[in-house]
């Protein structure tokens, strides 16, 4: 049939040989205006809903931000970074080990990023902003005067001796401020802290309220009758009086003593009465330019390191003393002062760790990039070297375990030394082995090296965080840290990491077990999963704490943190098992058949074909479990472990800490910390979904 024949018939049509050019959509169908109209103002009800929602959001935002910027005292979080990070009891001198543990994890994470992917532009921008802020620190640190300390004074209730630190040349001003009207007893903003002789930060919140109550309710104090005769004394660290004011008796506020510290160190101030004429009346002793100790327990070690032990006092009167301090944030402040108070302490607190982490992370990233494409080691050399290193690793393990058995039979210091040497050799050889793998040509070796390094973190981190010592009195740079000394974010991360990593293989085994044709295995798995899923986590945690010891088998002697980690692991593995079982069911029968048909046995079919597909199908759910577990670790504070929430509770709730007034700031801050970590985990999960064949499936779906 020729084309001429077609043209004759009216209903035929032949398209031109050139296909039409693709055009952009009309302007009314794209752009911001179109988006607004489509999503926010599509109809009258839609518009009304939009306006109502916007109004509510605006009100909420205004209220929240005006509080957050004008009233909130963020120092509760920023000045307690150390306690929030590693707990209040973590030994000050061992902090570097926690830092080092963090650096190891940051390093390996960035090596992984270097091997598997790229640093995104967003991440680079965030890091540059952080660096810029850190560099701008000197500018952001505007001088803000220390708030005054107020001590309540009457003839029965004099201020106790109060220890304080003064730097050389620092001038402290003491003022007696008589209370001549009831209005002077203002208690709002009451939140003062000073360090007592136990090294604890104190307030006298309760005692002060009682006094005020007496004053204002039953008139036992008449403010107008002011006739006190008191003087201020300053003692040095060995309790010698080095300065004393005249006795003051007026009814006007009067600066009675200006004292300049002759050298840096601990001092004590107290009041003394004129023994001949005590007088009656009430007053504030106002102390200017003395730093109040806002940070809690852990900080005292730092001060001991810098200024020595604080003086021990004759304790007739050395209980709580400071009744009130002004908040440094109150009053009118310049913007820089505001930043300096509310934000700079945070940057200063994190500066060393963040800078270290950035540098180490960058190195890790470069190592990862290098590992993923290096081929500097000739295969002819690399292969025997790698093999030799593996044998040597095996040798160290055998010697280590053998020495362990020998130590069990006949303990001796020499055996312990052998064990320590073997452990160190093992770690170093492991790192060397990973480097050799990195230097080999194929990309899969880089992955293997990475796996080796991540596995090495298990012994390395446990050494760092528990201690490394051949015998109890041998010299060591890493003395033991007890598990109950670890708290804060560190404990949260440790518990989550252990539980997530350990529950994953257990969850897989349980999921496979539940599908097993062998009834014993399947029944056990099913019962385990259903029982654990049927019991609240809190109950399981209580079981781990209180009931396990009664099971015998030495379970009561196991460290509480370990028991809790095991409970969290088993809890998560039951949920993971069900998630993974769902994933396994996604894998079609054809996949099994194809695997069998090429001769794979059922073990390899499961490992190579079914699990990779099944797990990939449920990555979001698995990560959901991980995030959920991470947040659930906060429950362990109920059984007395001070992880992030527990330590916050401790800081806020302990009357010793003096942060009673700021629960909102504290909880909001750790809420943000939980959010950041959860978001990171979710983001990583989305990236994993998009790797390998996941990328393809996104394209084709």
């Amino acid at each position: 049939m020729s084309s001429e024949n077609f043209r004759k018939a009216a209903q035929t049509y032949i398209a031109p040989a050139e296909p039409p050019v693709s055009r952009k959509p009309p302007i009314t169908e794209s752009g911001i205006v179109f988006w607004l109209r489509k999503n926010l103002f599509a109809s009258v009800p839609d518009t009304i809903m939009t306006l109502i929602t916007l109004t509510i959001l605006t009100i909420v935002a205004i209220n929240f931000f005006s509080w957050a910027f004008l009233n909130a005292q963020w120092e509760v979080a920023f000045l307690n970074l150390r306690s929030l990070g590693v707990g209040q009891l973590f030994p000050y001198r061992e902090l570097w080990r926690a830092d080092l543990a963090g650096f190891v994890v940051v390093f390996l994470s960035l090596v992984s990023v270097g091997i598997w992917g790229r640093i995104t532009r967003t991440a680079v921008i965030i890091m540059l902003v952080i660096v810029a802020m850190m560099l701008a620190l000197p500018i952001l640190t505007a001088p803000v005067p220390e708030p005054a300390i107020y001590n309540y004074v009457d003839e029965n209730y004099t201020p106790r001796q109060v220890n304080f630190i003064a730097e050389r040349g620092q001038t402290v001003r003491f003022t007696i401020d008589p209370l001549t009207s009831v209005d002077d007893f203002r208690v709002d903003g009451l939140a003062g802290y000073v360090e007592n002789n136990k090294g604890q930060a104190n307030t006298s919140f309760d005692a002060f309220n009682v006094t005020i109550g007496q004053v204002t309710r039953d008139g036992t104090r008449v403010p107008e009758d002011y006739d006190l005769s008191v003087a201020v004394q300053v003692w040095d660290a060995s309790s010698r009086v080095i300065a004393q004011s005249d006795f003051s008796g007026g009814t006007q506020a009067e600066t009675v003593l200006e004292w300049t510290a002759p050298q840096s160190g601990w001092y004590t101030y107290t009041l003394v009465f004129d023994e001949d004429n005590t007088g009656t009346g009430v007053a504030w002793l106002k102390v200017d330019n003395v730093e109040v100790f806002r940070s809690t327990l852990g900080a005292s070690e730092e001060r001991v390191a810098a200024f020595g032990q604080q003086p021990t006092l004759d304790c007739r009167n050395c209980a709580t003393s400071v009744n009130r301090t002004d908040m440094r944030f109150q009053g009118s402040r310049t913007l820089l002062q505001w930043v300096s108070l509310q934000f700079t302490p945070y940057l200063i607190g994190l500066r060393n760790f963040v800078f270290g982490a950035l540098v180490i992370g960058l190195i890790g990233y470069l190592v990862g990039r290098w590992a993923s494409r290096s081929g500097i080691l000739d295969e002819a050399v690399a292969k025997p070297v790698a093999r030799a290193l593996v044998y040597f690793l095996g040798f160290t393990v055998v010697v280590y375990l053998g020495a362990g058995i020998a130590a069990g039979i006949a303990p001796s210091p020499a055996i312990e030394v052998v064990r320590s040497v073997m452990l160190i050799t093992f770690l170093l050889t492991g790192v060397l082995y990973a480097l050799v793998l990195f230097a080999r040509s194929e990309r899969s070796y880089a992955t293997q090296g990475l796996t080796v390094l991540w596995l090495l973190t298990i012994p390395l981190l446990s050494i760092l965080l528990t201690g490394f010592q051949t015998s109890p009195d041998a010299p060591t740079i890493m003395p033991p840290i007890r598990s109950d000394q670890i708290g804060g974010l560190l404990l949260t991360l440790l518990l989550s990491a252990v539980a997530i990593v350990a529950s994953f293989p257990i969850g897989i085994l349980l999921a496979l077990g539940r599908q097993s044709p062998l009834p014993v295995i399947s029944l056990f798995s099913t019962i385990f999963i259903e029982v654990v899923r049927g019991v609240p986590l809190i109950t399981l945690l209580f079981m781990g704490t209180f009931i396990l010891p009664f099971f015998g088998l030495g379970l009561g002697d196991v460290d509480l943190v370990v028991r809790i980690a095991v409970v969290l692991t088993l809890f998560t593995s039951a949920y993971l098992a069900e998630v993974i079982r769902g994933g396994l069911q996604v894998v079609s029968k054809g996949q099994y058949e194809a695997a069998y048909a090429v001769g794979l046995n059922s073990f390899w079919t499961t490992v190579l074909i079914v699990l990779p597909q099944g797990l990939r199908a449920v990555i979001p759910a698995i990560m959901g479990q991980a995030v959920s577990l991470f947040k659930d670790t906060s429950l362990v504070y109920i059984i007395g472990l001070y992880e992030l929430l527990g330590v916050t509770y401790q800081i806020l709730g302990d009357s010793q800490t003096g942060y009673l007034a700021f629960p909102r700031e504290g909880y909001l801050y750790i809420g943000a910390v939980y959010f950041v970590f959860s978001y990171l985990m979710a983001d990583v999960s989305r990236r994993i979904e998009r790797t390998g064949s996941g990328r393809v499936r996104r394209q084709t779906l």
Binding site: S588, E593, Y596, A597, V598, G599, L600, P612, V696
Partner: protein, 257 residues
């Protein structure tokens, strides 16, 4: 294919697959009824028949994706009994190509082909990848090695599936309706690969509806219906002078359109 080639193949023929009185049930349903069949080495056997006639079940019994309940199946001298321990070893000798390809979607084309070589044949990665690349050349898609199955057309996927089966260097290849899920444009590329394979002397059992392929490539054609073998014959005999009424009816149905 010429008569000369047929005779040449037959002359060296030892039966490599023997089915003797094979019976199989799915529950109460009697799928295979007294199936008797011998396939010689280097022979190409095409099985045709209406759906539900047991064609697929028969060839799935041969690599034991299905178990038969009565009778004997002997593959390459090994009887597929109940106490078969190294079933994987036998399966490695029998390649299979499925209607729905069943490629492993989480692996690249190359890994699809190298996986079983490495874990069953214990070849080194380099060796396996060499084999994979050669096979991809042979099936005509050497440039697709890095892609994932989801990125390939159906015809390409099926050719990868053939390469995956061939990588094990099987003695026997089973094809279970390899072109049924393909667009017409892609059927030919797969059939061409299969023809090339048949010419190279592979023992093949092919379940298919491609009568042109059966006529051109098969040494023997088997017609099944209702779980039994109705007629076996050379393509010439089969397509020109079928004996059984059921065969005649079937052929008249499918050759009409």
């Amino acid at each position: 294919m010429s008569e000369q080639q047929h005779s040449k193949k037959r002359s060296s023929a030892e039966p490599i697959i023997v089915c003797k009185d094979v019976n199989k049930w799915f529950g109460d349903f009697h799928v295979l009824k007294d199936v008797n069949l011998e396939v010689a080495e280097r022979e190409v056997v095409v099985i045709i028949g209406p759906s539900g006639s047991g064609k697929s079940t028969l060839i799935r019994c041969i690599n034991r994706l299905e178990e038969h309940q009565e009778g004997d199946i002997v593959v390459d001298g090994i009887a597929l009994g109940n106490d078969l321990r190294n079933i994987s070893a036998i399966r490695a000798e029998v390649g299979m190509v499925f209607q729905s390809f069943n490629l492993f979607p989480h692996l690249t084309v190359r890994d699809n082909i190298t996986l079983a070589q490495r874990y069953v044949r214990r070849r080194s990665r380099a060796e396996a990848e060499k084999v994979a690349q050669d096979l991809l050349e042979r099936v005509g898609i050497p440039e697709q090695a890095e892609k994932y199955p989801g990125q390939l057309s159906g015809g390409q996927q099926q050719r990868v599936a053939i390469a995956r089966a061939l990588a094990m260097q099987p003695k026997i290849m089973l094809f279970d309706e390899p072109t049924s899920a393909l667009d017409p444009e892609m059927i030919k590329e797969v059939l061409d690969v299969m023809k090339e394979l048949a010419l190279s002397g592979m023992t093949m059992m092919v379940v298919t509806h491609e009568m042109g392929f059966a006529r051109e490539v098969a040494d023997r054609v088997i017609f099944m219906d209702g779980g039994r073998i109705v007629e076996i014959g050379t393509p010439d005999h089969f397509f020109t002078a079928p004996s059984h009424e059921r065969t005649k009816l079937f052929l008249s149905q499918i050759l009409k359109h």
